[in-house]
Each structure stands twice: as C-alpha cells, then as structure tokens.
Assembly symmetry: D2
Homo-oligomer: 119 residues x 4
Amino acid sequence: MQEIEELAARLRAFAEARDWEQFHTPKNLAMALAGETGELLAEFQWLTPEESATIMESPAGPRVRAELADVFSYLIRLADVLGVDLPQAAHAKIDENERRYDADAYRGSARKAPPLSGA
Amino acid sequence: MQEIEELAARLRAFAEARDWEQFHTPKNLAMALAGETGELLAEFQWLTPEESATIMESPAGPRVRAELADVFSYLIRLADVLGVDLPQAAHAKIDENERRYDADAYRGSARKAPPLSGA
Amino acid sequence: MQEIEELAARLRAFAEARDWEQFHTPKNLAMALAGETGELLAEFQWLTPEESATIMESPAGPRVRAELADVFSYLIRLADVLGVDLPQAAHAKIDENERRYDADAYRGSARKAPPLSGA
Amino acid sequence: MQEIEELAARLRAFAEARDWEQFHTPKNLAMALAGETGELLAEFQWLTPEESATIMESPAGPRVRAELADVFSYLIRLADVLGVDLPQAAHAKIDENERRYDADAYRGSARKAPPLSGA
C-alpha cells in the first residue's frame, strides 16, 4: 500500500473508533488544518531566515516535527473525505507550473512570480 | 520510489532550475504554506457543513483540488528542506494520539478533546 | 486621543521597554497575526454554526475574547509599523464594496459574491 | 461616536442591506478573517525582513493596505456579532502582559517569551 493511502486508512479508523466522523466535515477539517498551520507558523515568527534554517537542531525541533505531522494528518484526512488523490493533484499542479514558469525567464526572481506554486 | 520522496525530488528540481532555493528558507515556506491554507479555507467559509460535503461536485471543486495540491506541495517542500520524514512523523503522532485518546472514553465527544490530533 | 492611536501608543511603548522592536518587522508581525488568527479559528473548528453563535456563554468565551484581543493587538502593531491608518483604510474599502456589491443584485446570495469584503 | 463602533455600524448595515447576516455566523466570520490574514501573509512571504520594512513604498503597498482593511473589517464584524468590546479586551490583555513580561527580565530576548502577546 502506498504511503498516503496507508495514513488515510489509519486516520479513518481512528475517527471511526471514536465516532468522530460526525465532526469531520470538509469545512471543519479545513479549519483544523488552518489552525495547525498557524501553530507551525508560530514556531518561525521571531526567527531570522538564518535561524529558521537550523530550527530542527534547536529546542523547537521536536515541536516543529509534531506540527508538521498534524498539518499532514489533517490534510490527508480532508483529502480522504473529499475523495481527492493528493499525489495525483500535486503532480498535475507541478506539470502546470513547469509550463507556466519557464525556467530561463523566471530564474532568480521572486518578483516576477511566486516561487513554487504560482499562488 | 515512494510517493512523498518522488514529489519532494520534483519540487527540489523545480526550485533549483529557477534558482529559487534562495527564497525557500523554512520561515518563508511556512508562510507560503499558511497563505495557501488561507486560500483553501476561503473556499469553505460561507458554506453550510452540508454544502461543504459536496463541494467537489460544485463549480468550486477544481479550485479546491488545486488548493489541496498547493498546500501539499509546500508542506512537502518545507519538510524536505528541514529534513523531516513526513509519513514517519505522522505515524508517530497517531501512535501517541491512540494512547492519549482512549476510544471508549472519548467516543462521540468533541468537547472532551480536539478530535484527531489533540491540537 | 482616538481608540486605535491610544492602543498603538501602548503597544509601541511595550515593545520599546523590552527592546523588542528589533523583532517587530512587518514580516514577523504578519506571521504573529496569522498565528493568533489560527488560535482563534481553533476555538470554532468543531462547533456547529449554531453552537458558534453562543460561544461567549460557553467555557471557551474568555479564551475567544483573549484571542480577539491578540489578533487586534498584532493588527494595530503591524499597521503602526507600516504607517497605515486602519480606520481610514477600512472606510475606503467599505466605500468600494458598496459600489461593487449592489444591495439589490446581491441580496441573500453568498454564491454570487463573497459577502463583506469581496475577498 | 468612537472609531470601532462607527465601523461596526457601517458593516452591520452593509450586511443587513444584502441580507448577508445569515452567512455571518461567528464560525464563518472567523474563517473569513483567517482567509484574509492568509492573503496578507502572502504579500510578505518571499521578502527579506529588510524588504518587508519598506513594502508600503513598493508596488505591493496598495494591496497591503487593502488586505489590512479586510482583516480589520472582519475582525470588527466578528467582535460585533459576538458582543466583544475590542479596545477593552485589548487593554485588558496588555495589562496582563505588562505584569507577565517584566521589562527588565525580558529585555532584548525573543527566546524567553513570544514578544507582545505571549501567544
């Protein structure tokens, strides 16, 4: 079984065993995802860019790892409830961005375009 | 190759080809992740819980799929830059939550505890 | 003195007394604002719309009030550092929205347009 | 009339004229606030701390002002619906933070404590 499907199955079973599926509407899960992202953000807010690069070796490291896990878990649960295949959707978006952001035209510039996903 | 590592490799190559690694500090990527999560949230904000359950069949469906892809891509890129194994971190967190939220004690209640991750 | 300017002055003095102005770049303050908004969001994530309407009478009430205060404080501090007059900016945006969303054309519909600000 | 109450009254009338009060549950307004905060964040995500300090003189300046107005408007509307007096809540929180973060003990350190609000 692939990584995402395996985690989706575990999270589904976790919710079922506690009868928490009633709370897991897409609206509520999107809110929970955003709440966890806010906690992740808070770990970085007062750091310089340089400090942020070595955060995993700092006392905040385990918290950052746990927040990444929370964001990932809610994202997988939300996609599962919506019936979206995350890796497939991500590959399709990267295909699109490779066409949209020509490597030569956009080299070294965050001004011309938002790097990575095109926001 | 596993799903996450394959996507991480594609996103890394995408950034390298455009010399965008200089912008991809963990601090900046955490902000980009939060920005995309905000866009995802905006798709759900005026929907009833019931409407949110069928959003993929609505005109907003393709946008929701694209936003999920963006959130997923930035999450993978951030974890890659930080050296965090996302599936491993998620399994560890679910192990912890299975111990923490006893299925019988927490059944059917979102009051006693935040469902899924324990915030 | 007006309400916002009075709070801006207190927050400025608070930061100066602790030599925290060095951390209060617009980038960092925008992150802190988003982090606090995430905490506010977390208070509402598992509630039905109906439950959310009476949250102030629930045990979460004091936490919601404190989170609103945090969001407001960071917003004022960010606007102060950027030199933006918040009430003036808000009135200008509402003027624009009154032109953009004709009351008769948009009545009762969240489908045709995002209510309030036009996202 | 004070600044906040004046804006709250305008936003209330704006919603009433369009019959949008039905969408303005505290849950939905908290989501809209978070969505707008995400858009504000996106303006800062690729900037260095130094670049963020002069953003108002850049082409992004008018967008930042409009996003601050949107965040402020949703915050006022949410507090109005919840019956929370924002300036009063903010003063109470600053009083608490002045007791909690002794100016001498916390001077110049973002490590010992999150500046401003104590997160």
